[in-house]
Each structure stands twice: as C-alpha cells, then as structure tokens.
C-alpha cells in the first residue's frame, strides 16, 4: 500500500506502562522506539496489520507547553478521548484471555445483531471497543 493512513497516535501518561500493555497484554509489536533527549517516538503495530502503526505518545515539551500537557493528561485520564475499535475474530475468547492478563474491562461481551462487543481501557484511560463482526451467511 502506497497511500493511506499510516500512523494514528494515542496520548498516554506513561510510555513504559503503555508499551507493556500493548505488547505484553494485547499482543502488539514494537514498530519504532526512538528518543531524542526526553522526547520518545514510540509506535506499535497489530501483528496482522503491517501497514498501520499506533503511536503511544506522551503529552509534554517540546511539543506541548506544561499547561496544555496537563489538560491532555486529564482528558485521557477521564476517558474523554475518541473511541477506539479493535477487530477480533472471537470476542468472548479474547475477553477471557485479556481478562486473565489483568486487562481492565469496562464492559463484558454483549451480542448486538450478530456482532459481539466488549470494552476495555488501557492503563492511561483510553477506551477500546473490541468487536467481533457478524458472521457472513
């Protein structure tokens, strides 16, 4: 793929903690992890989606002034960031597996018109829906 969305980032309050969560629990892989002074560009990838990177970024200088960073951290911590959706083959199986790993679920798997969805949060507060698409007849 030559064109399309390549990186979308999330704000997290602790990149080490986020890395552990997305890699050790969700099973993502590290794509890029580079530092320049205090700045750290960190992206991870879903193993089945090599053309897309999820950025795990920290609000703060030099990109943000301290007041802005504070606001962004607060927004993440109170769950005010936009919804994120993860596609899974089997929502209930993934739920059991992730719960076992200590993922904080906000909603148990629910059937809705043939699809099954559950909700969880990353340690920072970003909310994910995990959706299993309806089976094609």
């Amino acid at each position: 793929m030559n064109q399309g969305i390549n990186v979308v980032g999330l704000y997290v309050d602790d990149q080490d903690e986020a890395l552990k969560f997305y890699v050790d629990k969700l099973g993502f892989r590290v794509h890029t992890d580079v530092r320049n002074g205090t700045y750290r560009w960190l992206t991870v990838q879903h193993p089945e989606q090599p053309s897309f990177q999820l950025g795990l970024f920290m609000p703060g200088p030099p990109v943000h002034d301290e007041a802005t960073a504070q606001t962004l951290r607060a927004m993440v911590a109170k769950g005010a960031m936009p919804p994120l959706v993860l596609s899974v083959a089997d929502c209930r199986a993934s739920y059991e597996q992730l719960k076992e790993l200590g993922v904080e679920f906000t909603q148990e798997p629910v059937d809705r018109y043939g699809s099954v969805d559950a909700g969880f949060r990353d340690p920072a507060g970003n909310g994910w829906k995990m959706i299993q698409a309806p089976k094609r007849a």
Partner: protein
C-alpha cells in the same frame, strides 16, 4: 448561615450549606481522574444497580465526601445524575430494540416504580416511554451504520440541570392558576 426567608420557605438546611469554590474548578490530577473514571465505568457497566456514593467511593479508593465533590468537578454533574442519564439511555435502547413492556423496562433499568420511571423519563426526554418507542423506531433505518455501542452513548440525555429543576422550569413556563391571585 440560613436566612429567615429560606427557613420560612421550608428549604432543607442542605441547600444552605456553604458551597466550596473548588466545586466549579475543573479537576486536573490525572491519577485521581483515572480512579474516578473507574467508578464512572462501573456505573456504565451496571446502571441498573444501586450506586450509593459509598460504593462508588470504594471503587475509586477515595473518601465519600471527596468522591462526590471530585466526581462533579471531573464530569460536571453529580454521580447520581450521571447514573440517571445512563438509565434513561438504556431504557431508550430497550424501548427501541426490544418488545419488552414499559414496566419490565422500568425495573430492568433500575427504577423501583413504574410511576417514577415514567415521570422521570418524560421530564428528561420530553417524551413518554411509549412515545419514545415510536419515535426511536421511526428513525432506525438511517443510523444502522454507526456501531451499536457508540450509537447508544450518543443518545444519552444531556442532563446539565437537575431533573427537579427541569421539572420546575417546565412548570413555570406553563400558565397555571395561582392560589395567590384568587383574591
């Protein structure tokens, strides 16, 4: 200090408690916000259950007094009113998506009486539960491309004023005979 007028009007002493200025200030501490979010998530997951402040405070790991004040500063409405928005949202979804009777929906969404449910639902949404069922179903075809869970949240009522206050304002807006004017 309560004024004599307030006492004569029979308002409770709670209404006259001094307001802490911090109540209106937005809360910024990420660690505390994350804990409060946990309580909010728990209400979201089980809005039909009873959520006294004590239970919520335990989820967040803070004192009851601290919880109620902090929750409001974080999410701009008190926890019980937030819970109400979720119950109305859930009731609206059940009205739209199921054929459950109004009474069953009232109990399934956490109300203890059908009367309270019907009255509160109308106060908040402006429609009776049965009218809402008709309206929500009429709008269904346009919105089936939004993920169901997101759509549900988008239909949550925006309760920036207390239900009692809403009720009071609605009553004021209608012309009603006043006992005072009958002289």
């Amino acid at each position: 200090m309560p004024s004599s007028a307030a006492l004569k009007a029979g308002t409770s002493s709670l209404d006259n408690a001094p307001r802490e200025p911090a109540d209106t200030e937005a809360l910024q501490d990420p660690a505390l916000l994350r804990r409060l979010l946990r309580a909010k998530d728990r209400m979201d997951a089980a809005s039909h259950e009873a959520w006294p402040v004590k239970r919520l405070a335990e989820v967040s790991g803070v004192s009851e007094a601290h919880f109620a004040r902090s929750f409001k500063r974080a999410f701009a409405l008190p926890p019980h009113r937030y819970l109400l928005t979720r119950r109305i949202e859930q009731a609206t979804t059940l009205l739209r998506d199921t054929d459950l009777g109004i009474t069953e929906i009232a109990f399934a969404t956490g109300w203890e009486s059908l009367g309270t449910f019907g009255r509160t639902f109308r106060d908040v949404t402006g429609l009776s539960p049965s009218a809402m069922r008709v309206q929500a179903r009429a709008n269904l075809p346009e919105i089936d491309r939004v993920p169901a869970c997101v759509l549900k949240a988008a239909q949550r009522p925006d309760l920036t004023t207390a239900v009692l206050e809403k009720r009071r304002r609605a009553a004021k807006a209608t012309v009603r005979p006043s006992i005072k004017e009958v002289t």
